[in-house]
Amino acid sequence: MAKTILIVDDSASIRQVVGLTLKGAGYDVVDAVDGKDALSKLDGRKLHLVISDVNMPNMDGISFVKEMKTKPAYKFTPVIMLTTEGSEAKKRDGQMAGAKAWVVKPFQPAQMLDAVSKLIMP
């Protein structure tokens, strides 16, 4: 049974390349275009990991992660922030929201898969 990962990014090309990388490694992928859309995907389905952008319209990634962590079913779902932002302040925000890793774009597929394999829920 393949594990499922939620990708949240307003950039269609990023959703595409992240999905391509993960599907190639045998993961199932669900995607959302922003934080609000991602919240609607938290409908009780089993998610083994979430990869989220930070700067998005409607609801940014930090707010989404905070909101997600209030839901008991997804409280312990690991989150990787994937963003062009690299400032320490933003990273602290991500960490405080509950993210487990911070990946700066552009990402290397091998490094992304390595981070995923380290954090994904069994």
């Binding site: 269609a12 595409q16 690299g86 990273k91």
Partner: protein
């Protein structure tokens, strides 16, 4: 220069006018009493001259000041005329620029998504092809020699099985050889039997000869030897019968001996053929195994090369995946620029409306504007561009931070 000369002419006229007044006063005073009022007339003339000069100077200064204000007003008017319509132009051109940028951004994004889809398809097909190749070649090469080792193990096992088969064949030949030796021994026995049959025949001849002599002696004995003659006759018949039997034994032994010799000859011929067949089989098997080894080696090299090329293509696709992410950075830069243009458009619209209502239009705080602009940057390139150290290269080092 022309304005200054005009001012001087006007001042000079004022001075002449005042001086004239002074001199006129002096003359009027002089005629009624030329002697008494001469001093006062002179004083009035001098005062008129001084007052005219002072007044002319003030007029000249006032005119110069007025000229300066006129020039300044003229410059302001020119500037206002120069900027006239700029805010309206910005109000109309900024949304157009915004839409043009958005069109370019969305077209780039659409193309990049299509491109990513194509590369994803290539990646998956390559994976499928490599998987199929691995399974069809029985893991000839798994990239670290393991598959090749498996095939060589299989080859060695086949060689062992064939060697075991050859050993079985050799054992069969050995058994045949032993059987041949036994047959040769039987052949020797048949000779003995033949000799023994010859002895029987010779013994029968001797017995027949003795019986014949006994019959002769019985005939000499007359009536008394008649019974003995009957016995001698019977003995002779028996000896004849024994002789015939001996001959038959000899004949049969000869037949058997001939058959045995034939069988030995055939067995020896077959043994030679088997030995040759065994040698030929060993050489043939070794040859087949060598051909198989060569084929496996060649196939393994091809599989390794295929594997290598496949990995190279996969790495290239990985590089493409990294490069495709530039669109996200471009999109963010364009979105941020479009947002700032929209902000400028809003401010200009608000100021125009204030101006239309006759309200005071506040000046734009450029420093505050730039500070707010820089606070919305998300990439290093944007900061570099803001500082004027323009860079076109996106960050290329992937950074992963675990919390």
């Amino acid at each position: 220069m022309k304005a200054v000369a005009s001012d001087r002419r006007i001042a000079r006229l004022v001075w002449v006018f005042c001086a004239g007044l002074g001199l006129s006063g002096a003359a009027a005073a002089a005629f009624p009493s030329a002697t008494v009022n001469l001093f006062w007339a002179c004083a009035a003339g001098l005062t008129g001259l001084l007052a005219g000069g002072f007044l002319a100077s003030r007029v000249r200064n006032a005119l110069a000041h007025a000229r300066g204000e006129t020039d300044e007003a003229f410059h302001h008017l020119s500037a206002a005329q120069s900027f006239q319509g700029l805010d309206e132009l910005c109000g109309q051109i900024l949304p157009i620029w915004n839409r043009q940028i958005e069109t370019a951004r969305s077209q780039t994004e659409t193309s990049l998504v299509d491109l990513a889809t194509c590369f994803g398809d290539i990646h998956q097909r390559l994976d499928a092809a490599l998987g199929l190749y691995r399974s069809s070649t029985g893991s000839l090469s798994d990239g670290n020699g393991g598959g090749e080792k498996d095939v060589m193990t299989m080859l060695e096992k086949g060689q062992g099985d064939l060697s075991a088969m050859l050993s079985s064949l050799r054992a069969g030949l050995q058994a045949k050889q032993e059987m041949l030796d036994r047959i040769r021994e039987v052949s020797r026995f048949s000779d003995e039997l033949k000799a023994m049959a010859g002895s029987v025949s010779a013994l029968a001849n001797q017995t027949n000869l003795v019986a014949l002599n006994a019959a002769i002696e019985a005939a000499w004995a007359g009536e008394a030897g008649r019974g003995f003659a009957v016995i001698a006759d019977e003995v002779r018949k028996l000896s004849t019968l024994s002789g015939d039997t001996g001959k038959q034994i000899t004949s049969r032994v000869e037949s058997v001996t001939h058959a045995i010799h034939g069988a030995v000859e055939i067995a020896e011929r077959f043994a030679d053929q088997d030995a040759r067949a065994m040698r030929d089989s060993e050489q043939l098997i070794e040859g087949v195994l060598n051909v198989f080894r060569g084929a496996v080696e060649h196939l393994t090299q091809a599989a390794t090369q295929f594997q290598h090329e496949g990995q190279e293509v996969q790495e290239t696709v990985s590089g493409v995946i990294v490069s495709l992410q530039f669109q996200d950075r471009v999109s963010q830069i364009l979105n941020q620029t479009m947002g700032d243009m929209a902000r400028l458009e809003n401010v200009l619209n608000e100021n125009r409306e204030r101006g239309a209502r006759g309200e005071r239009v506040p000046p734009i705080d450029v420093a505050a504007w730039l500070e707010q602009l820089s606070s919305t940057y998300t990439t290093l390139e944007q900061l570099d561009n803001h500082k004027g150290t323009q860079t076109n290269a996106p960050g290329n080092a992937t950074e992963v931070t675990f919390f």
